[in-house]
């Protein structure tokens, strides 16, 4: 874990107390994002992807959750202990975030231009007309053909892709070191999705920003991310460079996920499904959370498998007893 990491999360555990017990949303998440790197986090609903992002941004409702262990650091600064004032300074200027639903991420009663000017002026000492020029420049930078018209529009007058471009323009407006993208393209159709993703990658590279990209879409990850973390039931089960994970997945969950990709199945063939369902996060088993669905289940799975390196360079890890046995042999 080098000090130069933009974001380093170490064994983060977090739960939401409920009546009698707690929803154990994160059970030891370890991940890091290096400068200029695009890192994917994949997993199904409820695997803790979004909670991780929200916890890092400290956007979870105060009092509703409890951090039970681990740490999260942004450029060496402890995010979990930072004051609200510090977080206000960080958000927008150093870390920006865009959301799944570009439909609802803009205030419906304000013109797009007004909202952009407001955000820009919040972080920079600019006059109103300067800020307006800056907003136009930002939109043009996002390959928006007619920035003037977009600025005069209300959000509901824009398409989903256009709204997400506006969000990207806002996110990049203050040159953040890290952009957290929480399923930014889920609500868009495939062609627009591709345009937005390419735009995001291009701008991130151009502006030297790292991206933490949260998605449930393996196909998107494979085209887009440098490294990937696979999450299951609130913990990372496998990580590594995207190409290697895609070509040779090791953890049985990753293998099953990749087999379930529609384009890997011959046409008219049945798409493989993973038997069983995600464990109830209020009653997690003591051992491996995937054990009940795993084809390789064995006695050792009664205890939790740690993340162990799979190669000499320490670039790939997996948390599985079966894989460990194999590597050990």
């Amino acid at each position: 874990m080098s000090e130069s990491s933009v974001l380093s999360i170490d064994n983060l555990r977090l739960e939401f107390p409920i009546y009698r017990g707690a929803v154990k949303a994160l059970n030891g998440v370890t991940l890091r994002v290096e400068p200029r790197e695009i890192v994917g986090v994949v997993g199904e609903s409820g695997s803790g992807k979004s909670v991780t992002a929200m916890a890092v941004m400290r956007l979870l409702v105060p009092g509703s959750y409890q951090v039970t262990g681990g740490s999260a650091r942004f450029l060496g600064q402890d995010l979990l202990a930072a004051s609200e004032r510090t977080m206000l300074g960080l958000r927008g200027t150093q870390v920006a975030m865009i959301f799944q639903e570009p439909m609802t991420a803009l205030n419906p009663t304000r013109r797009v231009g007004e909202q952009m000017v407001e955000v820009i002026r919040r972080h920079r000492r600019l006059g109103r007309s300067q800020a307006r020029d800056e907003a136009v420049a930002l939109l043009r930078d996002m390959h928006v053909a007619d920035p003037g018209r977009i600025q005069q529009s209300y959000p509901f007058e824009l398409s989903g892709g256009m709204r997400q471009r506006v969000m990207l323009a806002l996110a990049f407006s203050c040159r953040p070191q890290l952009l957290i993208a929480d399923e930014p393209t889920t609500a868009l159709d495939v062609t627009v999705q591709r345009q937005v993703l390419l735009l995001m990658r291009e701008k991130a590279r151009e502006k030297n920003a790292a991206v933490l990209f949260i998605t449930h879409d393996m196909a998107v990850v494979s085209q887009f991310c440098d490294r990937v973390y696979v999450m299951y039931a609130g913990a990372v089960v496998e990580d590594g460079p995207t190409a290697e994970v895609m070509a040779a997945p090791r953890h049985p969950y990753t293998i099953a996920l990749l087999q379930a990709l529609p384009d890997r199945v011959a046409s008219r063939g049945a798409i493989a499904a993973i038997p069983g369902s995600v464990p109830d996060l209020t009653q997690l088993p003591a051992g491996c959370a995937f054990a009940s669905r795993c084809p390789w289940v064995r006695e050792a799975c009664r205890t939790r498998p740690p993340m162990v390196p799979l190669d000499a360079g320490g670039r790939r890890h997996a948390a599985c007893w079966a894989v460990q046995d194999e590597v050990g042999r």
Binding site: L59, G92, R122, F156
Partner: protein
């Protein structure tokens, strides 16, 4: 009016000014239109009372006491010979001015307090909400009467009393909206861009909480006029010889068996005005908040 536009996009929208669209929607509902017409008539009467009144409303003429409606005295005369029609025209000033004072003051104070309370949460929220609970736990008419009586009988004190009692309704409404808006994506997105709490209230919460508050306010106009009339009726509102509808109904009660017109006409004035406000308020609610329609 952009709110109205955003709320209903299924209807073919005529291009042009947003107000044009608003007018187009109002025209489609005869009851809303009727309400609007009544409100406009009452406003016109209030402004033009000196021109419209055939007699001096305070001119005592003991030779013509308690006359029935006729060509000279359209609504008849009262026990000291004053023309009831003129007095009703002038009486609109009291009722409307009460509504024009109470609704904006209670609405603005209540909404600010409620948005603040809902957005900030914590101890401040608890204190504000318990205070509103206390006010709302007493029936509002009784509390208004008690307050007005304690302040002393005058029109201004009656207005103050009604305002104080109306504020909690707006606080609750605005707080509920604030709690809702606080969890919406655009507020969350604004927070990720580093927006402060005060900025969230000012920029996002207040504006988007507005539609139900506007509806509540229009519906309150009718209620406030009724309340003012009720206070006038028991002698806690405008004082003699000022013409005031509630007080006129109260005095007319003594003569109700033989001189029905004395109470009936001011009563009708109250009824029609309050009904006009409520009809318009209902129509506005359908327009601004379609989910509530028909409820």
């Amino acid at each position: 009016m952009a709110i109205a536009l955003a709320a209903e996009t299924a209807v073919p929208v005529p291009a042009g000014h947003p107000l044009g669209y608003f007018w187009y929607r109002v025209r489609q509902s005869p009851l809303t239109l009727a309400g609007l017409a009544i409100i406009l008539v009452v406003l016109a009467v209030m402004l033009l009372a000196p021109l419209l009144a055939p007699h001096d409303p305070n001119l005592v003429d003991l030779e013509h006491r308690l006359l029935p409606p006729s060509a000279t005295y359209w609504f008849g005369t009262d026990e000291v010979g004053r023309d009831l029609f003129s007095r009703i025209l002038f009486g609109s000033r009291q009722s409307v001015s009460v509504a024009l004072f109470v609704v904006p003051v209670a609405g603005v104070l209540g909404s600010l307090l409620g948005s603040f309370s809902g957005s900030v949460g914590g101890a401040a929220d608890t204190v504000i909400m318990r205070a509103t609970d206390i006010v709302m736990s007493v029936p509002s008419l009784v509390l208004t009467m008690a307050l007005a009586a304690a302040l002393g009988p005058s029109l201004f004190n009656a207005m103050l009393a009604i305002t104080v009692v109306r504020i909690p309704f707006y606080v609750r409404l605005a707080r509920g909206q604030a709690l809702l808006i606080r969890e919406l994506n655009y507020t969350k997105a604004a927070r990720t861009f580093g927006a402060s709490r005060w900025h969230l209230v000012r920029w996002h919460v207040l504006r988007n909480a507005l539609p139900p508050i506007i509806v509540q306010a229009t519906l309150d106009v009718g209620g406030t006029i009724l309340m003012a009339a009720a206070l006038g009726f028991i002698g806690l509102g405008a004082q003699q010889p000022t013409a005031e509808w509630g007080a006129m109904v109260a005095t007319g009660r003594n003569y109700i068996l033989d001189q029905w017109w004395y109470s009936a006409f001011p009563g009708c004035a109250i009824l029609v005005t309050a009904m006009g406000c409520n009809l318009f308020g209902d129509g506005l609610r359908d327009l601004l908040d379609p989910r509530q329609k028909g409820r």
